[in-house]
């Protein structure tokens, strides 16, 4: 069951094996921003019969699944940022100052509705620091977000 969950987390996300990231390798934290999606033909074929290649996935997680899920940026035991494609959605929302991905991020960090617009503003203002290069990984971004929040009076308590 647990191994299968790890597989599900990895599925579709091309993880650069060399990147050592928080949470340990294989958790998707090494995922780089603006990652493309390879193996598209397979994906297309899969959608024809609505295939689910997730093996035995039934419920997000029970306990740890091999990844370190103690960090704040987790989502039912998986990392929201490490999910395929999410990192660049977050990047766009952060640059623009709002959006669904940014809201999802703040919800996963336990930031209540009243502090979310402040969170959005702080993220928008620190965009260049958080996405410092086009080579940043999900792990880098998570660390930068934590650092930015630490130094903010209102947001520090959510780390």
């Amino acid at each position: 069951m647990k191994k299968a969950l790890v597989a599900a987390v990895l599925l579709g996300s091309s993880v650069s094996a060399s990147a050592v990231a928080p949470g340990g390798p294989g958790c998707g934290w090494g995922n780089m921003v603006f990652e493309g999606k390879s193996g598209l033909p397979v994906h297309l074929i899969a959608t024809i019969v609505n295939g689910t290649s997730y093996n035995k996935t039934f419920g997000m997680t029970t306990g740890t699944n091999g990844c370190d899920t103690s960090g704040a940026l987790t989502y039912g035991g998986q990392s929201l940022l490490a999910m395929n494609g999410v990192l660049e959605e977050v990047a766009m929302d952060m640059a623009a100052g709002e959006g669904e991905a940014l809201t999802a991020l703040s919800v996963s960090m336990g930031i209540p509705a009243e502090d979310r617009s402040h969170f959005n503003t702080v993220m928008h203002d620190n965009f260049s620091a958080i996405f410092s290069s086009e080579e940043v990984t999900a792990g880098d971004v998570m660390e930068s977000i934590s650092a930015v929040m630490q130094s903010d009076e209102k947001l520090a308590k959510y780390i």
Binding site: A8, L11, M32, V33, F34, E35, G36, K37, S38, G39, L40, V42, L44, I45, A46, T47, I48, V49, N50, G51, T52, S53, N55, K56, T57, F58, G59, M60, T62, Y75, G76, Q78, L80, M83, N84, G85, V86, E88, E89, A91, M92, M94, A95, A96, G97, E98, E100, A101, T103, A104, V107, S108, A113, H124, F127, S128, F131, S133, E134, E135
Partner: protein
């Protein structure tokens, strides 16, 4: 069958009698025919062709009795004896069955599932405040999406802060990662894969459908009570890792989801009637019919957003967006700076989105990644509040039915004819476009029988499949249109018309200007007929035409022609006008001229088209 009906009647009778007499216990033989019991065991109550009167579940572990898959009574008795004892482990495996039995048989225990640690932990995690049926609609250029798909979403609040955190319940063919050949499609269609329910984060489904496949998503909130949601979730637990037969055409995702919803209120009989090839849109219709839909939400795809943003810009801005995509440093120049801050923000954001749109499905390219980040920095430096809302299109359930019968009459040269048609599925370029994508056609099994004064009823044509995807090109996005068409048709070959077998297809281009869509295709054709000396005669040609979407009619005019390797050729010019008379019917007028070496036929027809289902 008759016995079952008798038992069902008996059950109604008995239940009214027994409830009147107070006793809370019911006879097993009666309980075994309870709609809820049959729904929990996924018995086929006559809705689809395969395994009627048996279960759809293809998994021995789902039954306690050896004959459980065909005998609901034996299964009921096995469950009663296994679950009656306090602390029974079997209850933890089949909690919805336990709940059913405990209620019907009056087992007095406050919480007979309290000892099920794993189940309780799962119940603690699974969102259970709201159930939403999710329908990713079809998208041009993606044939796999044309029928759509349905899944269920579970939310943790009545109005969740972020549905990215909801869970998605998906039913599909369970395939290993190693299965990536074309065989997969064949096996999937033929029932070679087991189907399974899986739960994944809804965020991954948004990524998959809205961002990667560019499919609009329709979300229908279901009007269910907490007790009903609870029952569905308990039953979902029972379906963990359980294999179903999976047939693309009838026992597909949509049918299974209806069955899942059926357990919340089995008396409602969502899965009534005969349902071959349940298209997902009919799932939505069935739910509306039972008044189960409380709210409908439209989630535009990335492509729809891009297009709305592009259309809000003038030609100069669109050209600038294109330049920005190629070189983000254009943002430093005077042309860009001349626009106000909000416009700069919107142009840079659109340039970023189009760039991602183009490259999202490719391998990562460091140079594209650098441009992407540079554009986001421009977005970031130019503040703008407020978002463009994409206009909500007509929802798919308001579209015409999936099957069609047609009756027509016309003239070919000096011969009068009558024509009878039946189309199994689904939509052509000039059918009423309400609820459908313009420029998309998917026809499967389209038969035409024709009778003339001198001839009896004869097969005129039989399309097995005819798919066309006309996706318009614009300044920023340049998709390739395509078509594929195969079947039988009457065509001139060797001095007379014969029923020839053919398959043809090719790439093309489409543009859009207001309600006009001009298009062109290249064609490759393979034909088999008894007049030509080779078994398969190859040919090539071209098609071109114009679609015109009027408020009350749709028009298609065009021409096509192809040459065979044996020097034969055929060409055709046509004009077709479709006038819808409501959701389910239309009148169509056609004029057509078919030509070949040395001669041609001219004809016209007027047809009544009636949709159903």
């Amino acid at each position: 069958m008759r016995l079952r009906l008798f038992l069902a009647l008996l059950a109604c009778l008995l239940s009214s009698v027994t409830s009147a007499v107070e006793s809370r216990t019911a006879e097993p033989s009666v309980l075994a025919d309870d709609p809820l019991w049959l729904a929990l065991l996924h018995f086929n109550r006559g809705a689809t062709v395969h395994s009627r009167g048996e279960t759809y579940v293809d998994d021995e572990s789902f039954f306690l009795s050896e004959t459980g898959a065909v005998d609901p009574l034996a299964e009921l008795q096995a469950n009663i004896s296994a679950m009656r004892a306090q602390g029974s482990e079997v209850r933890c495996r089949f909690p919805a069955r336990y709940q059913f039995l405990a209620r019907k048989l009056g087992w007095a225990e406050s919480d007979g599932l309290a000892h099920c640690a794993e189940l309780q932990e799962w119940l603690g995690q699974i969102p259970d405040k709201r159930v939403v049926l999710v329908f990713p609609a079809s998208y041009l250029n993606s044939p796999s999406s044309m029928f759509g798909h349905t899944l269920i979403r579970l939310d943790d609040a009545e109005n969740p802060d972020s549905v990215w955190h909801s869970w998605a319940v998906n039913f599909g063919a369970a395939v290993g990662p190693e299965d990536n050949s074309i065989l997969y499609v064949y096996r999937g269609l033929a029932g070679g894969y087991p189907g399974r329910f899986v739960i994944v984060p809804y965020a991954t489904k948004i990524q998959e459908y809205s961002h990667l496949e560019n499919r609009d998503i329709w979300e229908y909130t279901l009007d269910l009570s907490p007790a009903q949601i609870r029952r569905m979730i308990l039953h979902l637990w029972e379906l963990r890792d359980v294999n179903f037969d999976y047939y693309f055409f009838d026992e597909n995702c949509s049918y299974r989801l209806l069955e899942l919803i059926d357990v919340v209120e089995p008396g409602m009989t969502l899965v009534d009637g005969f349902r071959l090839a349940e298209p997902p849109v009919n799932t939505v219709r069935a739910l509306y019919k039972k008044e189960l839909v409380r709210e409908r939400v439209y989630r535009p795809s990335k492509a729809a957003q891009l297009d709305a943003e592009r259309q809000a810009m003038d030609a100069g801005q669109q050209k600038l967006v294109k330049r920005l995509m190629a070189d983000p440093s254009v943002a430093k120049g005077p042309v860009f700076s001349a626009y106000d801050e909000a416009e700069r923000h919107r142009m840079a954001l659109l340039a970023y989105q189009v760039l991602r749109f183009r490259h999202r499905n490719d391998e990562r390219d460091p140079e594209v990644a650098a441009r992407s980040l540079a554009l986001l920095k421009v977005v970031n430096a130019n503040a703008y509040e407020g978002e463009l809302t994409v206009p909500t299109p007509v929802p798919p359930e308001r579209g015409h039915g999936t099957q069609m019968l047609s009756l027509g009459a016309g003239q070919l040269e000096s011969q009068d004819f009558g024509e009878l048609g039946y189309r199994f599925t689904y939509h052509d370029l000039i059918d009423r476009d309400t609820g459908f994508l313009r420029g998309a056609q998917i026809e499967g099994i389209d038969l035409h029988l024709r009778s003339t004064e001198s001839d009896d009823l004869k097969l005129e044509s039989a399309d097995i499949v005819h798919i066309r995807s006309l996706s318009p090109r614009n300044r920023l996005i340049k998709p390739i249109s395509w078509f594929v068409h195969g079947g039988l048709e009457r065509a001139l070959a060797g001095e007379r018309k014969r029923l020839v077998r053919f398959v043809q297809g090719g790439p093309g281009v489409t543009w859009q200007a207001g309600n006009f869509m001009p298009y062109g295709f290249l064609t490759a054709r393979l034909e088999n007929n008894s007049a030509y000396s080779s078994f398969l005669e190859p040919g090539g040609g071209a098609q071109a035409g114009l679609l015109w979407y009027l408020p009350r009619a749709q028009v298609n005019a065009g021409g096509e022609g192809y040459y065979f390797a044996n020097d034969e050729y055929r060409h055709r010019q046509f004009l077709r006008i479709n006038v819808p008379l409501g959701r389910q019917s239309a009148i169509r007028a056609e004029w057509q001229r078919d030509g070949w070496r040395g001669d041609n036929d001219k004809g016209f027809s007027l047809t009544w088209r009636q949709f159903f289902n």
